[in-house]
């Protein structure tokens, strides 16, 4: 067990750094699309140090104080319950074999805590942002779960380990190719869960500056920045395992997750923002139909 914990910490450390760098690169890509140079790719580290270096902070109450802790704990927990590299003792983290349902539900641990913390700040924008996020989430969940269910039916398991195992043996065994419908549904849902444009109405920088984290700063901010490095990574790893054959080495994981995240980035830089009701309706149309097609496909053409 001790060894396992050590390995998990190493894995966490590596991945969180990878997340920071990736976030920097994403910012860079955004800048390049706008024909700017943009921030240095290591800017995230400086920001992190700076937020930690602030000398004062305030709190509105206990929940406010705990909100970011919940958030980051949610991110770290999600990551630690996910097996990062297939069959690796080092990067298996604290999961036995990675029950997808646990991951699916554990996402909300941090979200909920953060929402409560933001709520206690007493700032109306925080509440508005949270309601938007929750409303959009209800719609995003549907295609995502359809995809998840498709995968589970196809591989007859909810364990990430088994799902990845079933996809071994060449690129044509990936879910991406064996069942493109559910992957399409899942990847569209991913856009919603990454909260980049066109689905970033939760933060909506110019409109409700900036939604839930309006009142957060200094070390709270540091925790949230760190979470922003690990949480999308964990989600990307989940998607990679579900749809893209998992990873056999850490390098493979880095490349695949990069590709997964870039998908949301590329969509994000090219689209303006949806309003909440627009995005809800959108998710309940195309991705939903794709997801149902995927399930039908699995049920009638694969078994």
């Amino acid at each position: 067990m001790g060894e396992k914990i050590l390995f998990a910490l190493i894995s966490l450390f590596l991945t969180i750094n990878y997340g920071f760098l990736m976030n920097g690169v994403i910012r860079k890509i955004y800048a390049r699309v706008g024909r700017r140079h943009g921030i240095p790719f290591y800017q995230m580290y400086i920001d992190l140090i700076k937020t930690l270096a602030l000398r004062t902070n305030i709190r509105h109450g206990t929940m406010f104080y705990l909100g970011p802790v919940f958030r980051f704990a949610g991110g770290v927990g999600l990551f630690l319950f996910t097996p990062v590299v297939f069959g690796s003792a080092m990067f298996g983290n604290l999961s036995f074999s990675g029950d997808v349902l646990l991951l699916l539900s554990f996402q909300f641990f941090g979200t909920l805590g953060m929402a409560l913390g933001a709520g206690e700040s007493g700032h109306p924008n925080a509440a508005i942002g949270v309601t938007r996020g929750l409303a959009q989430m209800t719609a995003v969940e549907v295609p995502f779960v359809l995809a998840l269910m498709g995968v589970a039916i196809q591989y007859d398991s909810l364990s990430l380990h088994d799902i990845v195992a079933a996809q071994q043996g060449g690129i044509m065994h990936w879910t991406l190719f064996t069942n493109p419908f559910i992957v399409a549904a899942g990847m569209l849902a991913l856009l919603g869960s990454f909260m980049r444009p066109p689905f970033d109405v939760v933060l909506a920088g110019q409109e409700i500056p900036i939604g839930p984290p309006t009142e957060y700063h200094s070390n709270y901010m540091a925790l949230m920045l760190s979470n922003r490095a690990i949480f999308p990574m964990a989600k990307a790893i989940l998607f990679m395992n579900l749809f893209f054959g998992g990873a056999n080495t850490y390098w493979e994981m880095m490349i695949k997750t990069f590709a997964v995240v870039m998908w949301s980035v590329f969509v994000g830089v090219s689209f303006p923002r949806f309003r909440v009701e627009q995005s809800i309706r959108w998710f309940l149309r195309v991705p939903l139909i794709l997801g149902i097609l995927g399930i039908v496909y699995v049920q009638f053409f694969m078994s």
Partner: protein, 213 residues
């Protein structure tokens, strides 16, 4: 939002109990700011480097100078290269740019915003108006020098200064921060009474607590 908001109110509780609510004391934290000294010289130098390389500007345009801040984000000037970023909320920003003339009405908002920022925080005065009133020297409604009201770290002169001048101003500010000379927040806390006196002299309907936490 008016001064009447701060009048004491007679409130009836759900159980029928009568009591008084004093908005000023009950809604706001009444404490004064305190000086927070650096912990350790070496650590502080490292921190100062990080602070200087990560200037988060509050997106708040007080006057016509705000129009000159927009080009900073464009490919032509691209202030992001220097670690300068914009934040939508004062809680997360550490650099306040007072962009041009400042009417007394706006001054009240600027003070509030400045006080809501967290301790190492910097103020940049933009344009002649913040230095000596500029072309509004005889206006009945604009302040003539900013440093009587807020601790200003850097002035960028001009009417209006171009974005290049602003970039130069950022570089100047970075040097000051790295040198540990940009301690505006602590100065504000130390000379709090003086600043408040000046502020209250021009803001005649003072309708907020002395320090907006």
């Amino acid at each position: 939002m008016s001064l009447e908001d701060l009048n004491k109110k007679q409130i009836v509780s759900p159980d029928g109990e009568h009591f008084e609510v004093d908005p000023m004391n009950d809604y706001f934290c009444q404490d004064r700011p305190e000086e927070v000294k650096p912990v350790n010289k070496i650590v502080e130098r490292f921190y100062n480097w990080a602070r200087s390389e990560s200037l988060w500007i509050l997106g708040f345009g007080t006057g016509c100078g705000a129009i000159e801040m927009r080009p900073l984000m464009t490919p032509r000037f691209d202030a992001y290269r220097f670690g300068v970023q914009w934040r939508p909320t004062p809680r997360q920003a550490n650099l306040l740019i007072v962009s041009g003339y400042l009417s007394t009405k706006t001054l009240k908002r600027v003070i509030r915003v400045y006080e809501q920022m967290q301790n190492p925080k910097f103020v940049m005065g933009l344009g002649s108006c913040t230095i000596n009133g500029g072309m509004y020297f005889d206006s009945y409604n604009t302040i003539k020098r900013l440093d009587y009201y807020l601790p200003v770290d850097v002035y960028v002169a001009g009417c209006m200064p171009r974005p290049e001048a602003l970039l130069a101003g950022f570089e100047e500010l970075k040097k000051l921060i790295k040198a540990g000379k940009a301690e505006g927040a602590n100065e504000y806390a130390n000379k709090f009474d003086w600043y408040k006196k000046n502020q209250k002299e021009v803001i005649r309907d003072w309708d907020m607590p002395d320090y907006n936490w």
